[in-house]
Each structure stands twice: as structure tokens, then as C-alpha cells.
């Protein structure tokens, strides 16, 4: 399985990564090598094997429906790149 430069641009777009043009070709080559390594999986016999998402056979724990976390909005906003009046600032999204 090899990836073309066009596919790399598409994947980078899906992943919201800006790629300078000179990086597209090296990434295409390297990701193709990685997918070739991963391609070994296709030889494994996995009929009737249940997928394993997690090493522990556990169910999601429940807790009483009570407020346990304190409000730390100011502390969390203090580390944001741009805030104003308690709001996160981003470029204009609606014209």
C-alpha cells in the first residue's frame, strides 16, 4: 500500500495539519513504508476473533450524580492563548 502526495494532502487536511509543500513527498514515502509494515497484518488468520479494544475486561464505572468538581474556569482560561471577558477568542467564523 503506498500513498500518493495527493492522499497525503487529503489526510493532512482531515488531521488539520498544515504541511509545507517540501514535506509532502518525504511524508508520502515514510507513510507508505509504515503502511507496508502494517500490511503484515493482512496475513493473520482472524476469522471468528473478537476485536480487542482494551486490555481489561471492565465496564464504565458509575458514580453518584453529584457535583464534585469545583469551578476552575479562571485557572483554565489563564493558560489560553487569547481570551476576553471569559471567552476564548478565535478568528471570525461568521461573516
Amino acid at each position: 500500500m503506498s500513498l500518493s502526495p495527493e492522499q497525503i494532502k487529503q489526510v493532512a487536511h482531515l488531521a488539520r495539519l498544515s504541511l509545507p509543500p517540501e514535506k509532502v513527498e518525504p511524508y508520502a514515502r515514510q507513510l507508505s513504508n509504515i503502511l507496508e509494515l502494517v500490511g503484515q497484518l493482512s496475513n493473520a488468520a482472524t476469522d471468528d476473533v473478537a476485536p480487542m479494544a482494551h486490555p481489561l475486561d471492565m465496564v464504565q464505572r458509575l458514580r453518584p450524580d453529584a457535583v464534585t468538581e469545583e469551578d476552575r474556569r479562571d485557572a483554565f482560561q489563564a493558560i489560553a492563548p487569547a481570551v476576553e471577558n471569559g471567552l476564548y477568542l478565535v478568528p471570525k467564523v461568521i461573516e
Binding site: 500513498l3 497525503i8 489526510v11 493532512a12 487536511h13 482531515l14 488531521a15 488539520r16 495539519l17 498544515s18 504541511l19 509545507p20 514535506k23 511524508y27 515514510q30 507513510l31 513504508n33 509504515i34 503502511l35 507496508e36 509494515l37 502494517v38 500490511g39 503484515q40 497484518l41 493482512s42 493473520a44 482472524t46 476473533v49 473478537a50 476485536p51 480487542m52 479494544a53 482494551h54 486490555p55 481489561l56 471492565m58 464504565q60 464505572r61 458514580r63 476552575r72 485557572a75 483554565f76 489563564a78 493558560i79 489560553a80 492563548p81 487569547a82 476564548y88 478565535v90 478568528p91 467564523v93
Partner: protein
């Protein structure tokens, strides 16, 4: 002072032979003298450390303190530390000062330990050589032209060179064990869910686990004891009492059943490394263990399975870095789309970008079944191999890495060659079982590590075996020249 075991440090502190402040200052001085050559620390927290040391001294003077009170350590820079920069080795978090403490930071602070600083690491723990860090590569104290392994390269370099008596680390595919092997340390990755992941910056959530790198199994047991345990803030934390790791260290090994997986001794294993492992097996036999061959037939598929599962989880986890709430933000973006793309393009290094793209690709429409679902099925086959092996033996023993430490720059242009460094370590993460590496000899004057893998929650037995081996050998006591 930097060559004493944690137990000796603890006894000396309690006997007031030296204070925690003196001990802490000794390590801070060594960091000042040696770290420029090693680059093991991203941040040194001298003031905070001396404050903690003074508090520990006050507790020691009042008597009745725990075994770790007043002992310094290095924290891998993947653990959030309130008020202290937490970079995860990335430009993305270069200016991130964590607004809360990771559970293990809270626990080790609570145990009276003194944090010397934050240890360098591969960016977002993605790497096997500590060359992907935004803060530059870490050097191996045994040979400054060689890598210390990764991703916990700063943690191991700091401990191996005596710039910290012990350090925390994390392991998603071998990031505790492989660097421990390459620097002559004992490193343990506990069972998945044994140590809280709260406040540990996520890479691959079904694989990540925190642990310890130390000079001996005894040291590792003492610190792991303080880290392990249920944490309601981590939804995958296991509600189960923690065994007494130090109490178990002294048990004789008579009757211990050790399995040697034949796949771990196949082509690719360096002959010098193999010789060290075979000699270690003989030591275990002389201690009363019985040894037999076992098979983990799907182990050779560990690396390809991992490079689907781990990037898939990473691409999801790292979607949180958007340039809006915290972390790096590009200048002058005109649209939201541009803000995301450029912040992430600038903030993440090449290896992180590769893995995000691999993960995005294998999860994308039309490829999910062929890659992600297939990998999850093979993951179960790997897990089943271990279940069968542990029906026959108590521990599985093999090499930690195929070779001794390689030269800086040797594998940076070839991601696949770099990935194959973890060929023996990844299976334990996929299965979720505990595993450790400990020193078992030298080849070409460089350390060789052996790996012990145990059944779920069998950390005590693994540490016991490692400790008994270390009573019969002295490899773990050897020290790199230049850092005496």
C-alpha cells in the same frame, strides 16, 4: 550520596547523617555540572525542590515519616505539575504551565519526595531514542555519542548518571523498558490500570501506563508502592488492593517457573545480547527456578498491530491541541481552519505529525476494517498467546532490545527502522500485562537488559525475581565513567 540505594538514603535521612536539603543540593549541584552534556532535564525546579526538602526535614525531625520522605526524584515531563511548565517534549506545550497536578505527582509529593525537575522525553512520548524532543536529544551517559533510548530518555539518563536517585517514566510500547536496558537501569511498567493516568498527557490511552526507572528492583518497588492504586479520576484505574512489593522481594525463587519465548530468540537478536540473556537464565536456574521454552506465535505481529492501534488513538487524543484553549497558537491566522492547521503544523514535530496522519488514515472511511478492526483482532491473538503461556509458567523472560544503544542520528531518517527497536516490548502493552527490564551484562562495553513479563497484577513476583537476581549479580551496580 548519589550512589546510595533509596533504602540507604532513607536510613541516613532518618539517622540525620545528612538532611534532605543537603541531599537535594547535592543532586542540584550534579545537575548543574553534568546536565549540559546529557540534556536530561527540560526544567530544573531548584527552588521548589529546596522548599520540599525543608518541609521533609521538618517532618523527619518530628519523626514518624514514610520511607520516601526527603528523597529526591525526577518527574518525566509528561506528568502535569501545578505551576510548573509541563512540555511533553513538544513545542506545542513549550509555554504550558499545568493548572493541576497529576495523581502520581500528588502521591509522590504526599509521600515526602522532592522533585528536582522535569525530565526530557521524546515528543508526546513518540520515539525510541529521545531524538524527537523539541528540546534536543538526550545523550546516553555510557557513551555520549549514543542514544539513551526513548521515550523516557531524560528519566533514564538522569538516574544512570546520578542526577536523580530515581525517576518516573511512562511506557506505551516500551518507553520505560527499552531506555532502562540501554542505560543499565531497572525499569518497570506495571499492569495497565495499576497506576493512575490522571494528569499524564495521553498518547495511546489503551496502552499508556506509568512506572519507575531506578538502580535496582528494590528501589523501583519502593517508589511503585507509592504510585500504584485506585484513582476515581482515571476511568480505567483498577479497583483492587496494591500488593506489598517490598515485602515480597526476599522470597526464595525455588520452584519459580520461567518461560523463554522462542520468538524472542529468533533472527535479529544480536549474538552478544543473546549471550548475556542466556547467562542470566543460568543464574535463575542456580537460584532454583525451572526454565522451559514457550511460544508466543503472534508476537512477530506486535509491531504492525501497534502501529495501527497507537497512531489511531494518538490522532484522537492529540485532536485536543487546537490553538484555542491551551498550547501553541499560530500568529495572524485569518480563519478558524487556518488557526487549527497552522497551530498544529507549527506546534507538532515530524514524528508526531507522521503518527497523527497514520492514525487519521487507518480510521478513515473505507480503511477502518482493513486496518483498525484487523489490528484489534490481532491484538486479541497476542493477548491469547500470553494467557496460554501463563497457564504453564509464572514469568516470561527474554531480551528487552535486539541491540545495545545505537549512535545518535543512526535511525532518524527511517521511521520503520526506529519502530523495530520496540519489537520485544510492545506485546506487553497490547496485552496489558506488567513487564520490566533489568541489567544483565555488557556487550561492547554497553549495557544489556533482560525483560521479565508477568501475568496481570503480578508485579510483586516480577520484582521478587529481579531482586533475587540482583542479589546474585552486580551488573546493576556498575556506573558509567565520567559520572562517578
Amino acid at each position: 550520596m548519589h550512589k546510595l540505594s533509596l533504602k540507604q538514603l532513607s536510613d541516613s535521612l532518618k539517622a540525620r547523617q545528612f538532611s534532605s536539603r543537603e541531599l537535594t543540593q547535592h543532586f542540584l549541584d550534579r545537575i548543574g555540572r553534568h546536565d549540559p552534556a546529557l540534556n536530561a532535564y527540560v526544567t530544573v525546579t531548584a527552588e521548589r525542590a529546596l522548599r520540599q526538602a525543608d518541609a521533609a526535614d521538618a517532618r523527619l525531625a518530628a519523626g514518624g515519616t514514610g520511607v520516601l520522605t526527603g528523597i529526591p526524584l525526577a518527574q518525566k515531563d509528561i506528568f502535569c505539575t501545578l505551576g510548573v511548565k509541563t512540555s511533553c517534549g513538544s513545542r506545542m506545550l513549550d509555554r504550558f504551565v499545568a493548572p493541576y497536578d497529576a495523581t502520581i505527582v500528588e502521591k509522590l509529593d504526599g509521600a515526602g519526595m522532592v522533585m528536582l525537575g522535569k525530565a526530557n522525553m521524546d515528543e508526546f512520548a513518540m520515539g525510541s531514542s529521545n531524538e524527537t524532543s523539541w528540546y534536543g536529544p538526550v545523550k546516553n551517559p555510557w557513551d555520549l555519542e549514543r542514544v539513551p533510548g526513548g521515550s523516557s530518555g531524560g528519566s533514564v539518563a538522569a538516574v544512570a548518571a546520578g542526577l536523580a536517585p530515581v525517576a518516573t517514566a511512562t511506557d506505551t510500547g516500551g518507553s520505560i523498558r527499552q531506555p532502562a536496558a540501554l542505560t543499565n537501569l531497572t525499569g518497570i511498567k506495571p499492569t495497565y490500570g495499576r497506576v493512575s493516568r490522571y494528569g499524564m498527557i495521553a498518547f495511546a490511552s489503551s496502552l499508556d501506563q506509568a512506572g519507575v526507572v531506578a538502580h535496582s528492583a528494590e528501589d523501583a518497588a519502593l517508589v511503585l508502592q507509592a504510585m500504584a492504586g485506585f484513582d476515581p479520576r482515571d476511568s480505567t484505574s483498577v479497583e483492587r488492593p496494591v500488593d506489598d512489593y517490598t515485602a515480597a522481594l526476599g522470597a526464595p525463587l525455588r520452584g519459580l517457573r520461567i518461560g523463554l519465548p522462542k520468538e524472542y530468540f529468533a533472527e535479529g537478536l544480536d549474538a552478544g545480547v543473546r549471550g548475556c540473556i542466556e547467562a542470566a537464565v543460568k543464574v535463575f536456574e542456580s537460584l532454583g527456578a525451572t526454565v522451559k521454552e514457550v511460544s508466543l506465535p503472534n508476537a512477530p505481529l506486535s509491531v504492525p498491530t501497534y502501529y495501527v492501534v497507537a497512531p489511531a488513538e494518538a490522532s484522537s487524543n492529540l485532536a485536543r491541541f487546537d490553538g484555542v484553549r491551551y498550547g501553541h497558537r499560530t500568529e495572524g491566522a485569518k480563519t478558524l481552519q487556518e488557526l487549527y492547521e497552522r497551530s498544529r503544523g507549527e506546534g507538532f514535530g515530524a514524528e508526531v505529525q507522521r503518527r497523527i496522519m497514520v492514525g487519521t488514515y487507518v480510521l478513515s472511511h473505507g480503511y477502518y476494517d482493513a486496518y483498525y478492526l484487523k489490528a484489534q483482532k490481532v491484538r486479541r491473538l497476542i493477548y491469547d498467546d500470553f494467557r496460554r503461556a501463563f497457564a504453564e509458567v509464572d514469568l516470561v523472560l527474554g531480551p528487552t532490545a535486539q541491540n545495545v544503544a545505537f549512535k545518535l542520528g543512526d535511525k532518524t531518517d527511517d521511521p520503520v527502522a526506529m519502530y523495530l527497536n520496540d519489537i520485544y516490548t510492545i506485546a506487553a502493552n497490547l496485552a496489558g500485562i506488567p513487564a520490566m527490564s533489568l541489567p544483565c551484562g555488557f556487550h561492547q562495553d554497553l549495557p544489556v537488559g533482560m525483560q521479565l513479563m508477568g501475568n496481570f497484577f503480578d508485579e510483586a513476583r516480577m520484582l521478587n525475581a529481579a531482586h533475587q537476581y540482583q542479589q546474585a549479580t552486580d551488573f546493576h551496580k556498575r556506573w558509567p565513567k565520567g559520572f562517578a
